[in-house]
């Protein structure tokens, strides 16, 4: 039943996006059947969507940041499978347009710092080195990236892209909601579903899978 919910909703999403060719296959499998598939701990194979706002170099860096902020690990899929970077790429052309310049400057400064301090662009570093670079960026130590402002911006957007409604291009396969045990968007909740020790059945639906709602600008 869970798989059915997932596939219906995914079909809806793809129809809306008109981008059936860009299914992140790995994410779909691991999200829809978390119990059956062994947890993936290494880098996952993800088909990246065509870019809407970011340059390829920026997107490489952002994907790598997302992978370290919410890693794919023994607790299951992370921000990469959720397609948080895709969410951000889309939003930077719309609702988050005012942050576009901050990403351009921030990602360039990040790559420059990674190269200066670790010898390669951020995306090309080993995960442990990436973490050290991110610690410096978060701590305001890296040149051109003061006060952790850029780190906090990317962290907030990565959380949005991992735990937000899939309508906006992230939380693919509902991996973010499954991670924290959110049972899903519904329009009616009964008393039993609010009792301690009981949980509502997982409902893999976007708000806009309910036809009564006017779609948001995305």
């Amino acid at each position: 039943m869970k798989g059915d919910d997932d596939s219906i909703s995914r079909r809806e999403l793809l129809k809306r996006a008109g981008a059936a060719a860009f299914v992140p296959v790995g994410a779909l499998v691991s999200a829809a059947r978390p119990a059956a598939a062994p947890p993936s701990q290494g880098p996952v194979s993800i088909t990246r969507e065509p870019l809407e706002t970011l340059t390829m170099a920026e997107a490489d860096a952002l994907e790598a940041i997302c992978a370290r902020l919410i890693p794919t690990d023994e607790n299951g899929p992370g921000a990469v499978e959720a397609r948080a970077a895709h969410y951000i790429d889309r939003a930077l052309g719309g609702a988050l347009k005012s942050s576009r310049q901050a990403y351009a400057a921030g990602l360039a400064a990040l790559d420059a710092y990674a190269t200066a301090s670790r010898g390669a662009r951020f995306a090309a570093l080993a995960p442990a080195d990436q973490d050290r670079v991110l610690q410096d960026v978060a701590g305001g130590v890296a040149p051109g990236l003061p006060n952790g402002t850029f780190f906090n911006l990317v962290r907030a957007h990565t959380i949005e892209g991992t735990f937000g409604d899939p309508y906006y291009g992230g939380n693919a396969g509902f991996v973010g909601w499954d991670l924290i045990g959110y049972p899903g968007v519904r329009t009616i909740v009964n008393a039993d579903e609010q009792r301690l020790g009981s949980a509502a059945r997982t409902n893999h639906k976007s708000a806009y899978d309910y036809p009564m709602f006017t779609r948001a600008r995305d």
């Binding site: 735990f163 937000g164 924290i180 609010q194 009792r195 948001a216």
Partner: protein, 567 residues
């Protein structure tokens, strides 16, 4: 020259919580009413359960007037001026009642008599230094019939705690005596709120479900609440949230005597040589209109009420409309509702669904419900816990020092704890002070080139002491319920908020108040002001129902005295 429109009896500026209620008794009484609203209509199809849009981005409204008029703020006259990124209010027919929490409290009797009751019980020296607080010009019993009308007309669910002096321990035993039950039973409890009620009772306190302008059952043909979890800054997809947009405004429209004008951006109220109000100037899509009216009711919001008056300068009122006594903008305060408390439990709380109004309150430490003799403050706070969580905010939870803020260890922490935390809502007594006020910002302007409102205000010792006292109580309540970690938030500053009071205070003395006991200007007799801007005390609870009861009372006074006021 603005286009002059057809005359009307009453022009209401703003069809939100207060103006949207006042329109109904006026239209019902046969008066012609024009409601000027900056926003547009929104309906339930616009209210998707979408956390990203509702809580992190702009709402679906077509008009973002408030967002262009965010007040500036500074903690004192000499301090740097800051400006928040967003305004907490919204523009639409129904105003912010479309996405508010809908907690619909009556003030307690003490809130009307802070000065005299404090003096009687503890001595005049206990009124905090520098405070400009006054007793209201009337007591709780004067407002009770209007609370009752609003509760029944728009629909408020709740459990009575005192009916004509007979207390009922299922409700708030500290509330003022009410004439009758609420029209609907309270919203149901959740497993979490029931757990908190048990803990409060164990402490010897008196927990009760709070009142909400939300249907607990079908009411006046509208659905009961669906508890779906998107009420916090979300509109209702089944019209169970009783905004004036689905209650009093449509009722008034059905009389044929309320004309709703949307996208009307009001700039000034006009007056004649004698100082009487003649009508309202507004702009729609760059075109200026003048709406003549025999009476004007200003019902925008606290910041905009003051701003509109100060921008309406004339020969009769050189310092702004109704400001010849220099009182417009004075006695401002925003509710002491920060200094929250957040707890971590060793079990899932299952609060993914529900709504902020589905909660459990404790009033044992509110107002003067306890002895302040040995304490160093007056007033108190309402403790409120509720069932309300969505995934982005859950993933953004505080890690209580137990995990970093990113990476695998963080991910493991939120996987385990995303449903194990709760933050209480603690509303506390806030007083007006001599040096807390609103005026016009000398630099920052809106897109029409008009100055925005400026807040000069800060919390004082009394507010800080109440906050610390209430945090102690909340800490104890959470721990009694099994919390393993408890964190306390800071007091914060008086920035723009949904609970903003004063600026056009109500009182008998024209030297210290802008409007009289009926809500009409002491200076311009055919100008009324609606909203929490007329309130001189906050109590320890949300202001909306009181603003609505006052609005109804002002409207009824206008109907009963039409010939005198309208001339």
């Amino acid at each position: 020259m603005p286009t002059r429109l057809k005359d009307t009896d009453v022009a209401i500026i703003g069809l939100g919580a207060a103006g949207g209620v006042a329109a109904w008794p006026l239209a019902q009484a046969g008066l012609q009413v024009v409601g000027l609203e900056a926003g547009t209509w929104l309906t339930k199809k616009d209210f998707a359960p979408d956390e990203l849009r509702n809580n992190y981005r702009e709402w679906p409204q077509a008009v973002q007037k408030a967002q262009h008029e965010v007040p500036t703020q500074r903690v004192s006259a000499g301090a740097p001026t800051l400006r928040a990124a967003t305004h907490p209010m919204m523009n639409a027919v129904g105003g912010t009642t479309l996405h508010y929490w809908a907690q619909s409290w009556r003030l307690n009797p003490w809130d009307f008599k802070v000065v005299s009751e404090t003096t009687r019980r503890y001595g005049a020296s206990r009124i905090p230094k520098g405070s400009t607080v006054e007793d209201w010009p009337f007591g709780f019993n004067e407002l009770e019939p209007y609370y009752d009308k609003v509760e029944y007309e728009i629909g408020v669910s709740g459990q009575a705690g005192n009916i004509r002096g007979r207390t009922d321990p299922r409700g708030n035993i500290f509330e003022g005596p009410r004439a009758r039950e609420y029209p609907m039973p309270p919203l149901r409890g959740s497993g979490f709120t029931d757990m908190m009620a048990t803990a409060a009772a164990r402490l010897g306190w008196h927990p009760f479900p709070g009142p909400a302008a939300i249907n607990s059952r079908t009411y006046q043909g509208r659905s009961a609440c669906m508890y779906h979890g998107f009420c916090n800054k979300g509109g209702c997809h089944v019209d169970a949230k009783n905004s004036p947009a689905v209650t009093t405004i449509p009722k008034a429209q059905k009389t044929g005597r309320l004309q709703v004008v949307t996208r009307a951006h009001v700039t000034t109220i006009e007056v004649d040589r004698d100082g009487r109000v003649t009508g309202v100037t507004y702009v729609t899509d760059g075109v200026e209109y003048f709406q003549p009216a025999k009476v004007v009711l200003l019902a925008s919001y606290t910041y905009e009420n003051t701003r509109t008056l100060l921008l309406s300068k004339s020969v009769a009122y050189p310092n702004g409309l109704s400001n010849n006594h220099g009182q417009v903008g004075r006695h401002y305060f925003s509710h002491n509702q920060q200094a929250g408390v957040t707890a971590l439990f060793p079990r899932n709380l299952n609060t993914w669904y529900g709504l902020p109004a589905q909660g459990m309150g404790v009033d044992d430490f509110a107002d003067d419900n306890f002895d302040h003799g040995p304490l160093d403050f007056i007033g108190g706070g309402n403790l409120w816990v509720y069932s309300d969580r969505r995934p982005i905010v859950a993933a953004s939870m505080n890690t209580f020092g137990k995990a970093p803020t990113w990476g695998s260890a963080w991910k493991a922490f939120i996987k385990e704890n995303a449903d194990r935390t709760n933050t209480a809502y603690l509303q506390k007594t806030t007083l007006p002070y001599e040096d807390n006020y609103l005026d016009l910002d000398p630099v920052v302007k809106d897109p029409l080139g008009l100055p925005v409102c400026r807040i000069t205000a800060n919390y004082k010792d009394n507010e800080a002491r109440v906050a610390a006292f209430i945090q102690d109580k909340m800490d104890a309540w959470y721990r009694a319920a099994g919390a393993i970690e408890v964190l306390r938030g800071p007091l914060g500053v008086m920035g723009p908020t949904t609970h903003a009071y004063g600026g056009t205070r109500m009182g008998d003395n024209a030297d210290t108040n802008v409007v009289n006991r009926w809500g009409f200007s002491h200076e311009a007799p055919n100008l009324g002001v609606l909203g929490a801007s007329v309130m001189g005390t906050s109590g320890a609870r949300n202001p909306t129902l009181t603003a609505q009861a006052l609005a109804w009372r002002t409207a009824e006074h206008l109907v009963n005295n039409w010939k005198t006021i309208a001339k």
